[in-house]
Subunit: 434 residues, 4 copies
């Protein structure tokens, strides 16, 4: 444990600072592509620490971003970010939703280690009750309807903590460190645009982390690097447009978008199962029609597809598109399909996972192997790009006690976990570049 | 023309007064069950004229009203009606949506003649452009989102004009006159509750009227008593309630209300046609689900059914209810079906229609026979009750030039029609009770 | 009655002959496109009478025939017709399903009167009970599964009776008589191919007849020329072809034709109603799949569409084809649609119908006006072609007492009706060409 | 290898006899519940060897049999079995479909070992080409439409071979041997009725086997005892009964069974996926309707459900029944659901599988571990009953070269495999009871 003792001490010492940063971000929560204040502050901090910093159009490939809000929303939030203390030097680069930051530390010859920290909040109204600590202690979100209810405020704070320690120990490193602060992970909208920009090319090792709740069987504050796998997914928004008509006098003159959408929904769920693994679809919302006695001229659907692997996800996606397009056509409606997000299936590389497990052991954090299913994460795009080029990837979970479930209005976590995660990232970096 | 010359002169003379009343009602438009100000003013006027007046719970059978707004809406509009000059003596009777007024004039032995004047507005935002006369001349609706876009302001003014003239000539009448100011005709929600209260029992002759647009072939200001027929109809609001679940991890734990609703919609449209006449259904709106990755736990539909006659309408209604209930059940959802409105098929009695045509001729108004289809009117409940008891009914249209189509934000009509309609109602009353 | 007395006497005198012909045809019943024996005997008789006779490819336009049986069936029935006494001179022309005969009688200058007599039987197994007169009296069908259960044996006999009388009185006629013996009326498959061959071009008057059951209100043996109207219709056979796969191991490798067909069926019934009249669809049969645990690779449907008029029928047909094609496509199946029959809407011309009514009066047959709906007849193609060129058409029913309902195995009729029908056809011809 | 050397030598020596038995059974193939000749010959042989033999109603619980053919089929096949040399002493017990045989060998104190050999053929027409060895060598099925295309002829021969060797070595055994010759495995119809009769109660070890094709990676004639798992399944026949009506005149008087079935099919495929493993459904066949212009009054479906485990299979089954019943109800049809077969999920016990693997090694047969999915086997009922009472079960595959795929008309296998399988059964018995 000698080799990591300094990392451990530093990470524990910086806990108050990690908490301060996390609470500031929590208070000014920003959702996907609106993380303008957050991005500007991260860029400022990395610059001050001495990193080479990429911002604005150098981070995400502009046209590869998915689910970007409308212009008016982007502009309103730019004004908000200015008013809430965004860094004036970096804020302009984020205008129009060009959020995200990459910090690079070059330490001579050696492999490249990249780490991903996601920075966006969720569209959730935060609890105002006194039992909710952020409310009680004054750091609840002031941006009504935006809330860090999935721990990305913590992830960002961890990333900045890691940045500090690695800079301090840069003389012991041989190679390159790349810290990626990713926007718009919620809805799996942002990661691929960073991959498409080429930032994962040439990366040898890739590390990702998510704060997660501990169960009764796992101790408080422990870290669990697991071989975590999740489903591939694609998210679509669909609009059917038909033609209104009086339902009593002339239904034959209408093009019934509601009927078309209903027929599509039933057939979407009826897509034959894939025999080789999970093949899921959900039409989560459907809104259609303007009045009881009018043939509905518009129907909107939000849907998502998931597959045990990328191939199954594509089978479902292709089938769904055929159903959506043909059903619209047979009812005389137009069909607009917009991709709102996507993630590939994800699987950590066993050798790298084993090294994380070993490190946990050395750090006195109890490692536990996990094989969790059902969720989706667009970090998968990053991991798969690295793996496809011969590198290795791992995605692990840092366990903590939680006050409410993820994505809920009462979500909160024990901040001790911040220091633990910083230790794992830094120790792994030393392991790989030391 | 001798016998009607006084009626004709009086009706023409009162045109300015009819216009004033109509414009006041237009300005303070009130939708179904919220016609509190309107009802109080009608009751005041009838009382002042010397009618026996029924208000509040004496008009509509409380529990037979359909599509009554929620309590908070009722209360807010009661306050609004107070603020907008409702008559303080009669307003309290309307609280809670007990709107509508009946004026009775008893003139000794003889038959009973009842007339229906509907008083409610539509949920339409009125045009604000200068070309729209109500806006230009200052009587556009001040109640945003409520608009008299179907002429019921005119119908009410006509009813009060008729009340004045009949009272003036009461010595020439032998029998009873019943003037029914009906709430909530839009959505066919009100008429049946008046019928259920018994007000049509014992009526020998029943007259109804609707202001309608003239076509190029029919002159301005003419009256057309036609044998008008319309479809029977039933309106339902349906709520499916299921159970939310994570669409990726545990779709089997959900009860998918959106899928159930979609399946129901397709099957509703697939109800086998009736071989004996029009059998229509329309699901006008469908709103379901809360988020893309959540199994939808609620779906709401607004739908309507129509049939060429009451029997066909019942065939469709029974089938639809079976589909709605069984589909909910098979997807594990609950099903709440609420009747929001209903009308029977409607057909004027030929002998009475012929008498109206004769009267028009005497009044120098060009009568035209009509056979119009496709719409629905809950005056049908009143007509059918009268007919089923051996009486006669007629529903006619008073033609006028229109500025915009019915139910549109630019609707307006040539107010000359008001005087014409008053003449027909009064002359027919004299014909029947003279 | 002077002018028709000879016709009346002749028709009554030939009743035994009409009965003999009818019973011979009944015994050797032949279904659509297989009326080879029948056609050859009709051609022989018309030739012997002195008519100019068209047979084989001169009657129906070969490629416009619908629903023609397969080659092997045609050949087998050709052999059967030979064995059952088909006329050797004319039989060869019918080979391959080129059935139908036209007899022409030219009587100098004057208009052209065409008459249609349909000659085919149904695919019904005739009753063998003693109460069934054809069985009791030895003229039940010897062709098992083929039966004249709709009176076309009678129609053919009537046509030959008419041919005899008209030839006898040809000196009193001025113009042209065209007797059309139409194949394949059942399934509405034959008439249009005669129209397409041009035989209705230049026809001034067109007469058609169907033997029908009398009700209690109409006397036995009477003739009812009515303004009969029926629905337009189109008949399709549809085959979906997909791909089989093991339902447990690899459902995703299949293309499920059964699922596609089921989805199409539901959507076909859900085609929005036409607001202007009856719009019907029926998928009468559906056969799909080869085994429980195999993804079905084929589905076959027999369906029909009907509309109150040709335009509505087209609305339904276009919609149905879109649904059938798009649904197949979205499930990865091919779609073959074959038109098996069609008829247009049909309506007699009032002036000609009135003349038929007058004639009935003169003949002491009680005429009754009828307006019957729901069925379909491909004589409509002939009538509409004549009308569209300025001619007049009428379709009437000759009433009789019936032993069983049409299309049933116990169908039979009172043969007195044969003579009555002959009278009407001949008297009308004299009326028009006399 | 000392302890098994006698078994190995005997099994190899009896290969010609095994081949003879297999070919005789192949030639007189009998499908489920019709294995009357087969059962009588097995019972004769076991009796002659000295086993205690159970037949007729002592084998399967009569009312627990699924998918039993109709009485006329049973009788016809009883006559056939008599004509084809069924043993006259035992044949009467099989009448009415009471097939199946159990042979018991009691060797004093000790555990009970049960083995399952399934005996039924498939409804397949056997290939007649010369390349098909059974045809070339004269043992192709003489029962047209019945064929041993899944190796059960081999299984039966193996069972009789095992019976012979175990009887020869009974002095070395301590405990009880139970040889179960199961009828109606195809369609998973027979096993449960044996379990319900109680024959698996008190069994300590249970062995089952299936002949399977070797791949290029596994040598010819080898035996692979694997931990084989398969899906739980339920098979249903469903009949919807509605009411016929004329599709043009009175569709509203019909109860459309075809439409109801189509709607059910789409909804069955749309049953929400289970999040915890495979959840499959297949409607393999659908036959509905009698004619194009008649509302279909009957629809028949054959369907099957599968689940990764019994719980998921039940989730699907419960859902399917709700859909089937409610859909029938909403279209006014009756619904008859008949269970035609069922199997539970199946998994070998690791300790017993390891012992089989060890035995293979000793026998010089190369063992390979397998984890195959997708099929279903009703041996699962037997295995699960044994396991649930504290016993152990294993199901293994004996590999061989195959001429055509399972269930195909060209199926055949290298008969060397028969001897190999006999060795494994006998060696395992000695291992367990020695």
């Amino acid at each position: 444990m000698d080799r990591f003792s300094e990392i451990k001490r530093s990470a524990q010492a910086m806990l108050p600072e990690l908490v301060t940063v996390r609470r500031d971000l929590h208070k000014y929560a920003e959702t996907g592509w609106l993380e303008m204040r957050t991005s500007s502050l991260v860029a400022r901090r990395l610059t001050d620490l001495g990193y080479k910093v990429l911002v604005g159009e150098d981070v995400c490939l502009k046209e590869a971003r998915m689910g970007v809000p409308e212009e008016t929303v982007l502009e309103a939030n730019y004004a908000r970010a200015q008013a809430q203390g965004g860094d004036p030097a970096f804020l302009p680069f984020t205008r129009g939703g060009m959020t995200g930051v990459i910090g690079i530390l070059e330490c001579g010859e050696g492999p490249t280690v990249a780490m991903r920290f996601d920075i966006d909040a969720l569209g959730v109204f935060e609890a105002e009750e006194a039992e909710h600590r952020p409310s009680a202690e004054g750091f609840a979100s002031v941006n009504r309807g935006f809330m860090h209810a999935c721990g990305h405020d913590g992830h960002t704070a961890i990333g900045l903590g890691v940045a500090k320690i690695l800079m301090d120990m840069k003389d012991r490193l041989h190679g390159t460190v790349k810290l990626i602060f990713q926007p718009a992970e919620e809805g799996v909208r942002g990661a691929n645009s960073i991959v498409e920009k080429g930032h994962l090319d040439g990366v040898d090792y890739f590390l990702g982390n998510h704060i997660s709740g501990r169960s009764s069987k796992t101790g408080d504050g422990l870290i669990i690097p697991g071989i975590y796998s999740s489903l591939a997914t694609t998210k679509f928004d669909v609009v059917y447009r038909g033609k209104a008509a009086h339902a009593g006098a002339a239904p034959h003159l209408g093009k019934n978008a509601l009927l078309a959408a209903a027929s599509a929904v039933v057939n979407l769920y009826a897509i034959p199962r894939h025999g080789e693994g999970a093949s899921l679809i959900n039409v989560g919302t459907l809104h259609a029609g303007s009045g009881r006695n009018v043939v509905a001229d518009e129907a909107k659907m939000e849907l998502e597809i998931r597959g045990a692997n990328t191939q199954i996800n594509e089978y479902m996606t292709d089938y769904a598109i055929k159903i959506l397009e043909n059903t619209a056509q047979m009812f005389g409606c137009s069909c607009e399909i917009k991709k709102m997000g996507a993630a590939e299936a994800l699987c950590s590389d066993k050798p790298l996972a084993d090294r994380v497990a070993g490190i946990c052991h050395e750090l006195d954090l109890s490692p536990v192997e996990l094989n969790v299913n059902g969720g989706s994460e667009d970090i998968s795009y990053m991991m798969n790009r690295v793996t496809s080029q011969g590198g290795q990837s791992v995605f692990f979970r840092t366990l903590t006690h939680m006050a409410g479930p993820g994505h809920s209005r009462t979500y909160d976590f024990d901040e001790q976990v911040l220091s633990n995660a910083v230790q794992v990232f830094c120790a792994m970096t030393l392991e790989l570049l030391g």
